[in-house]
Symmetry: C2
Subunit: 161 residues, 2 copies
DNA sequence: ACTAATCCCGACGGAATCACTCGGAATTCG
DNA sequence: CGAATTCCGAGTGATTCCGTCGGGATTAGT
């Protein structure tokens, strides 16, 4: 039960882009150095992020990548979905299932276990939907005027245990 | 981002044991047939469950496995931890970390990303802690005298999204 | 126009993990 | 005794992960 390095590296990449936000494109070489990650590998990750419309690229010398919109406007759910695919702790609880169509599991009497995976999926996507990239970017002191209300407001609720 | 078949098959195994609860040990051969799963594979899964104290075994002829306690008393969190190891969406957010000791990640300035993984971890373990095996066992009609109060009582609440 | 920087993109490969299988020893019931 | 069953470690084919490699296209500076 864990995310792959795609998710990890990709999020770290996005956080770096969040720090550079508003200061023009940042090259992959810079980011790879700052985060001590293999640049060729980041290349394929950033492709997914670009295809998802989360970052925009500038080609040529002094080119690079930058966020497509403000960190506050980018939900972590979108980032991780772009990197890891649909959030599904189990095949029979994927997000992109044809809702009326068959489940993958036609096992023993309507698969009561499905409830479990659906609950887990909703818990994950719920917290991911409630966080934005801004929650992870170490304080962007005085770049855009900080609005501390937003950060606490996004937190859903303490969630029982 | 998904659980392995260990989690899936193991949970299904436990649900079957939940149905047989109170009726003596059930052999793996039975369960493998009922769920259409490879019996030799279930063998290694049930070992983990036994080591975790969730099931008890009876050796020899007419032996088998049964739940160590009532389905209402077995949290899904315990089952999945036994099967899949500690719940950790990322290495730097494992449940069994030495809290005062180092994090695995000493990356760029105290790893603000860690917050993300911790939130996800807590969301997962929260829902898992709030569910018991009884929530997944299709109604235990008239095996042991049914107590419908317990079944609805264990269900925590609809859980927002 | 040339060069250096950078993104773009597909293919390849070693290593790890997954999802089992196999064979047999130990234990218990009839 | 013999059949049923748990116990347990070792082995294995396929798949996925985690990158690497090589080169092509695009742009800024000079």
């Amino acid at each position: 039960m864990s995310f792959s390095t795609k998710g990890e590296y990709g999020v770290r990449l996005m956080v770096q882009l969040g720090r550079h936000y508003g200061a023009g494109p940042a090259s992959l070489a810079e980011i790879a150095t700052e985060e001590a990650l293999p640049r060729p590998y980041l290349e394929q990750l950033v492709m997914s992020l670009r295809d998802a419309g989360l970052v925009v690229s500038t080609r040529g010398a002094h080119g690079g990548y930058e966020l497509a919109r403000a960190p506050e406007e980018i939900r972590m759910a979108d980032i991780l979905r772009a990197l890891e695919g649909p959030i599904a702790p189990m095949i029979c609880a994927s997000e992109d299932e044809a809702p009326d169509h068959q489940h993958a599991c036609d096992r023993t009497a309507r698969c009561s276990v499905n409830l479990l995976w659906v609950r887990i999926r909703d818990a994950i996507s719920g917290t991911l939907e409630g966080m934005t990239l801004a929650d992870l970017v170490p304080q962007r002191t005085s770049l855009v005027e900080p609005q501390p209300a937003a950060r606490t407001a996004t937190t859903p609720e303490p969630l029982g245990v």
